[in-house]
Symmetry: C2
Subunit: 307 residues, 2 copies
């Protein structure tokens, strides 16, 4: 999910992103292979512990380390030697098994491993699934580290950058104008583009398929209703795109604002698929910093079927 | 949404419901017309204020009035004379307009009016939609009262009872065995039944369409991940049915428990449509207590399109 401590921070970050994007130019971001680890020759003898890798990452994050963060080791120890790295949205049971098969004993996951924001294993007492998952991780000797707060704090925000790249919208990003400004496009065409570029099968939306959209607020993940509604109130976009929402908050707000004459539409992408490109981009970002280790992306993907 | 203060209360409530259901028998619950107000002759001269109606309702609620409850008047005053009553899930702008057309100046809504649980109008500062909605309510002289905590505290739980009735599952309800026990049915058939009986166009689910289900945990509304996961841990149902969830909590838990060999499936109905039958049943329940007033149900319905 995506949480900001306050709006001032939020806007500061967006401004910062803008400058970084301008400075970097678009050409840098054109191509990310599906499993984007560079095939650089391994330096024999060079070894990394989990902590070494974390330190290499945190060196790049403004303000790191943070005093209060959910980005902690969820399983295993910092001193373990790393055999390979898998990045993913959720360190699901299936992702753990795939990582083990690839001989990647370090999973960097954006979201919780144990089904609650703080990864408290006792969030539900005697949770048998937590226990089995811990056993599975121990059995394979896999360390899981969450990389959420830090990746969002990177400049540009690692998740947003991955999504902008994957959607091909990076040149349309105008943070100082409140979001994206795309060539005028129908809501229907935007939905088709998001589904195809992000590999999404179904989305929920509110709006008229033929309505024209130009100004877009793009909020991957689960910002929470208060932030989502604030962005619409402040920026009045034609379209709000979110990963996940609470229905009684943002969805009802959008339904009402439209009934009152606003044309702001809403697309709900799904949480995992909305942020996955950011964990895919992490491979490209991290691999050159640790050429001796193989870094791969495992897409945990959408958990639902739709019918 | 649906929130329990603790698990002990939850199970006490379910046991209580069981006894009430057994005592009442199923025949009582067979038929609820779409707009279920009885056409009883009005007693000329008998008038009710909003507070009169609230008092009549609260007389039936165990433990009422509660010290801490979200069930407060959101717009207008308790002393206003009631011309007619509309029940709904969400007092949306559209429902307000429909109520005004029907000359119903008292809306009883299950969920928030101003997009947050406590209906704090300053949840988002200077919220233009809150302001316009307040103006609309004032313009039509409509009082909105939330009926959430009390309706869930009624025995049987007013929302759950409405859903059990509408799905035709009331005779399968076995709270002391942890939920519903239906004749063995495929997940696919259950989804078809829920869509047709509750008038739902699309659902999200996790599971195999052909898997057989017998024991069902039915949790309309948004109980929150902690409660939803607790129910699965404690009851090990074949199927968990919820109104709404947070994807990184319950959905990921279900995905993992299945990967670990459990067969618990999940259906996500959508928040509004999952609880709507409870506000529909309220009409049948309330109308005989205030025969001089017309009580109608206005279904606020699902806010989304799916594609």
């Amino acid at each position: 999910m995506r949480k900001f401590s306050d709006k001032a921070t939020f806007y500061k970050r967006r401004t910062f992103i803008s400058n970084v994007v301008k400075a970097a130019g678009a050409a840098t971001f054109l191509s990310i292979p599906e499993y984007g680890h560079s095939a650089l020759p391994a330096e024999q003898g060079k070894e990394y512990t989990v902590q070494d890798v974390i330190d290499i990452i945190l060196k790049e994050i403004p303000g790191a380390p943070f005093n209060d963060t959910v980005d902690t080791i969820k399983s295993g120890t910092a001193g373990q030697k790393v055999t390979g790295i898998a990045t993913t949205m959720f360190a699901t049971v299936e992702m753990i098994r795939q990582a083990a098969k690839m001989n990647a004993n370090f999973i960097i996951a954006h979201e919780p491993t144990f089904y609650n924001h703080r990864d408290d294993p006792d969030w539900v007492a005697n949770n048998s699934v937590v226990k089995q998952k811990q056993d599975l991780l121990n059995q394979h000797g896999i360390v899981v580290w969450r990389f959420h707060d830090y990746w969002h704090a990177y400049r540009p925000d690692g998740i947003l950058h991955g999504v902008l790249n994957k959607t091909g919208w990076i040149n349309y990003y105008r943070p100082q104008e409140g979001g994206l400004k795309i060539p005028v496009t129908s809501l229907k065409k935007i939905i088709e583009h998001l589904k195809s570029s992000l590999g999404i099968n179904y989305v929920r939306f509110i709006g008229e398929p033929d309505q024209r959209c130009e100004k877009i607020a793009l909020l991957p993940g689960a910002w929470g209703g208060q932030r989502q509604v604030s962005v619409v109130e402040n920026e009045k976009p034609d379209l709000l795109i979110v990963g996940e929402l609470q229905e009684w908050e943002t969805a009802e707000y959008i339904r009402d604002t439209r009934a009152l004459g606003s044309k702001t539409a809403l697309i709900v992408l799904g949480h995992a698929v909305s942020e996955e490109p950011g964990m895919e981009w992490l491979v490209e970002w991290l691999q050159p910093k640790i050429p001796e280790l193989k870094v791969s992306h495992l897409p945990s993907g959408n958990p639902f079927k739709w019918v």
